[in-house]
């Protein structure tokens, strides 16, 4: 019996429990209505839910726990068998044989590449089925015990509703806690893997080294080519400089035009069109940048007389990324301009200033904090953007300010390092997590500051 089948069986039995309990409750509700008291505490379906939850919840919890502990129990059982005694003691080879034998026993793999694993397959098969049936039996036992216990409590004066509502409230709290769990999970996994990385490569080299040419075998103390400065520079150059040179003027001016000058009809049509720009997947932008924009930029550079212009240049990636960011800058500017009290605007216009003078000298200075907050969010979005740079910018680390050269970024290198073999102990894989940590901390900081700035600014005018 597979896990999915057991899951459906449990849920099906839960449904049976629901129906049975509801029918029993409905019977005494009918009786009570005919009798002198005329009412019962809870409606029949609350009784149904109570019994169903009591039956299914412990069974599902047990299934989940069993799913996570049974693999190690299986491995222990296999290792305690005499046939496993002559396995190699060395960790990596041993783990490879064990995982292959398990894969064959579970039917994921057909043939063995290592001779030793062939012998372990029957052992694994018997161990797997042994623990599987223990799990199935225990799950069903829990289900029937919980259901039977709850069913005996279905009585006219039983407060099923308050019990069910308590479970619902608990469920709501758990759902909200998943957000915290995810954040903690991100933090923990990034910090844990980075810690392993920094035990091999010194953090000093990583943060201040200027040569990025990662070696797969590291020697402590020596220079291993893990200097991330070129990556940080490339990320800033493409995401925070080139993209912003495109996005800030276009986004800001679009917002000004649409809110201050355009007629209602133009606004009604143009706003969704700008929003489409934000909805186009990044992989499409990346393809467009690599296929159309990058060759055009290179031709332009050659026309200017730049001889060493690369086809995967930083400028193309930056421009396309800037276009992607336009809607974000535009909508943030829109919000902050709209939040400026209309008295300020009317006062300026009444003094005889033209519309553009009002905008430049009254609205924009007043809206500046909001706009800055929006730009910070845009920068955080740009430096975390992956597909555009992966497809349009290059893989070679280059510490240069020449926009026609190939420049790589943090996200590109994360993708590059995790491509190919993903042995989880190698410095290559771990370096990706260290880069991820740097990216996470930076974007977290930028978002935090941006949200603070925007919030402060809103409060100032409210």
């Amino acid at each position: 019996m597979t896990g999915t089948a057991l899951l459906f069986l449990v849920l099906g039995l839960g449904l049976v429990a629901w129906i049975a309990a509801r029918a029993r409750a409905a019977a005494f509700v009918r009786q009570a209505k005919a009798g002198p008291r005329g009412t019962v505490n809870s409606l029949p379906y609350y009784h149904g839910w109570f019994v169903a939850i009591c039956a299914v919840a412990p069974a599902l919890l047990f299934m989940f726990i069993w799913q996570s502990i049974s693999p190690s129990l299986v491995t222990n059982m296999v290792l305690s068998a005499p046939a496993a005694a002559d396995l190699p003691q060395e960790g990596f080879a041993r783990a490879a044989i064990l995982s292959e034998a398990r894969a064959i026993a579970q039917g994921f793999q057909v043939t063995a590449f290592q001779g030793e694993s062939e012998k372990l397959v029957p052992l694994y098969k018997s161990a797997l089925s042994y623990y599987k049936w223990i799990g199935v039996a225990a799950t069903l036992l829990l289900l029937f015990a919980g259901g039977a216990f709850a069913f005996t409590r279905v009585k006219p004066d039983f407060r099923a509703r308050s019990k069910v509502e308590r479970v619902v409230m608990f469920g709501l709290l758990v759902a909200s806690l998943i957000a915290i769990l995810t954040t903690l999970g991100i933090f923990a996994s990034l910090i844990f893997e980075s810690w392993r990385f920094f035990s091999m490569v010194s953090p000093f080299e990583f943060l201040f080294g200027t040569e990025w040419n990662p070696k797969s075998v590291v020697t402590p103390g020596a220079d291993n080519g893990y200097g991330a400065i070129p990556l940080f520079w490339g990320t800033i150059f493409i995401g925070a400089i080139i993209a912003m040179i495109v996005a800030i003027p276009l986004g800001l001016m679009s917002a000004i035009f649409l809110t201050q000058y355009a007629s209602a009809t133009v606004r009604k049509w143009m706003k969704p069109i700008l929003e489409i720009l934000a909805g186009v997947p990044t992989v499409v932008y990346g393809y467009f940048a690599a296929l159309t924009v990058a060759p055009a930029v290179r031709d332009f550079a050659v026309m200017l007389g730049v001889s060493n212009a690369a086809s995967d240049n930083a400028l193309a990636a930056g421009i396309v990324m800037g276009v992607m960011i336009i809607p974000l800058v535009s909508s943030m500017s829109d919000d902050s301009i709209a939040a400026v009290p209309s008295a300020m605007r009317d006062g300026s216009l009444a003094m005889g200033a033209t519309k553009s003078e009002t905008i430049k000298q009254v609205l924009l200075p007043a809206a500046l904090p909001g706009v800055v907050g929006g730009v910070l969010l845009a920068v955080s979005r740009a430096i975390g953007e992956t597909m555009i740079v992966v497809m349009a910018a290059g893989y070679t680390a280059n510490l240069t300010a020449n926009p026609f050269a190939t420049i790589t970024t943090v996200t590109v290198q994360i993708v590059a390092l995790l491509t190919g073999d993903q042995d989880f102990g190698s410095p290559h894989t771990l370096a990706a997590f260290a880069l991820g940590l740097a990216l996470f901390v930076t974007t977290f900081f930028l978002n935090y500051v941006a949200l603070r700035v925007v919030k402060r600014y809103r409060e100032a005018y409210e």
């Binding site: 409230m169 709501l172 709290l173 932008y285 393809y287 276009v323 597909m387």
Partner: protein
């Protein structure tokens, strides 16, 4: 100096200097407005250019070039009858018939020295399918149209390699080439030859991933939104939940990929590049979007509704699940669709969990190795073969149609069900 500031004569607004100054200010005004218009125009132009480029290249991807091949079936198959390749044993009979050999022979007889590499790799499969659908073909001479190799396909549609161009021009003169709709592109899977590729496998993978994402992110997101808006007490824990959700909504997507790699693949040992892991990873990413949209929708339900329900004796849980949630649902659904559209277009986290392998068949279950539509686009964009350019653009068109459709549905729902209280 004091004379000038105290000058009692009024400003001569009609004087030349003032008129000039006003003209200058008005010119600046016009320039500023023009700049604004230019910004909007440039953004729209870029979008139009992007869509136009994709359409221009992608529409060719839905087309394929076919070549007429004469099959003298009675001679080629030494008199196989229609009855022998129909019925329950058709599969085995066709297997023993050596269809690839027959196709090679037929093409060789007709096209002689250029027959090498004329047809695409899947052409024999096409012939087999035709015989399967219509066994009576085998009893007579037939002319079948079969897809050509990608080199010739490219050369027929636009500029290709010189050698291929030469072959195509001779064939076109004979009238044995034609363009037809490429059904394989909609029903097939990834292949090494661009004229045999299809997006169905990637699309199915995307659908399965999205199903997992929706199943996890929607309930959790709605419940969390209800909790935060309706029940959460003001305390440290609630603050932490709010900060986490706001932060998660802005975390780069690639970080979620790293989380999926470290937690789902390495810690829990889930199957690599499966729809299950992809869906889990994207669910974590989509959940905050749904929570934020859900909170706004719940917030917009007026308090009078809650008070009225409480007033006639509903419990707090009944108030929320019987009254607030149904009224907020259109807003929540709109947010969910937008979040799902974003997840559907997401590539980077899926690359992190290993969804970049060559997958030549559609996934059968949630734990099978699969690929997703955006990932397939990325993989094809990396191919050197010229034939992949139009396939990539065609896949992009399919993806964009779905995304625009989802966004349009969200806008429709918003307009249809939005209630002004």
């Amino acid at each position: 100096m004091s004379n000038a500031t105290m000058d009692p004569t009024p400003t001569d607004w009609n004087g030349q200097i003032m008129q000039k100054r006003i003209a200058r200010r008005y010119a600046a005004e016009r320039r500023f407005k023009a700049m604004g218009f230019f910004a909007v125009f440039l953004s729209t132009l870029f979008l139009a250019f992007l869509l136009f480029t994709m359409l221009g290249q992608g529409l060719r991807g839905f087309q394929r070039t076919e070549i007429a091949v004469d099959f003298d079936f009675p001679a080629l198959t030494s008199g196989t009858t229609a009855a022998s390749i129909s019925g329950p044993n058709a599969d085995a009979a066709l297997n023993s018939m050596d269809v690839p050999g027959i196709v090679e022979l037929a093409v060789g007889q007709q096209y002689g020295n250029i027959s090498e590499g004329l047809l695409t790799t899947g052409a024999a499969g096409n012939v087999r399918q035709m015989l399967m659908d219509n066994p009576s073909l085998v009893t007579s001479k037939q002319q079948l149209w079969l897809p050509v190799d990608s080199r010739l396909d490219v050369a027929f549609k636009r500029e290709g390699e010189p050698a291929a161009e030469k072959i195509v021009s001779t064939l076109a003169q004979k009238g044995t080439l034609r363009a037809s709709f490429n059904w394989t592109f909609l029903t097939g899977a990834d292949a090494t030859d661009p004229s045999a590729v299809g997006i169905w496998a990637a699309f199915k993978g995307s659908l399965m991933t999205m199903a997992i994402t929706l199943m996890l992110a929607f309930p959790v997101g709605v419940l969390a939104a209800l909790y935060l808006e309706e029940y959460a007490p003001k305390n440290k824990l609630t603050d932490m939940i709010e900060v986490s959700i706001n932060n998660l909504a802005a975390v780069p997507s690639i970080i979620f990929g790293l989380l999926g790699l470290a937690v789902f693949l390495t810690m829990f040992g889930m199957p690599r590049s499966s729809a299950l892991v992809g869906g889990l990873t994207l669910a974590l990413m989509t959940m905050p979007v749904i929570v934020i949209a859900g909170r706004n929708a719940v917030k917009s339900v007026p308090p009078s509704i809650r008070e009225a329900a409480l007033g006639i004796g509903a419990s707090p849980v009944q108030v929320v699940f019987h009254h607030v949630l149904p009224l907020a649902l259109p807003g929540i659904l709109t947010g969910t669709i937008i979040g799902m559209a974003r997840a559907l277009g997401e590539t980077a986290p899926l690359l992190m969990i290993g969804m970049r392998a060559f997958i030549p068949s559609a996934p059968q279950g949630f734990t099978d190795a699969t690929t997703a539509l955006p990932v397939q686009i990325y993989l094809w964009s990396d191919e050197v073969n010229q034939g992949f350019v139009e396939k990539t653009s065609a896949a992009i068109i399919v993806l964009l149609i779905f995304l625009l459709g989802m966004n349009a549905l969200a806008i429709y729902l918003r307009n249809r069900f939005e209630t002004r209280w």
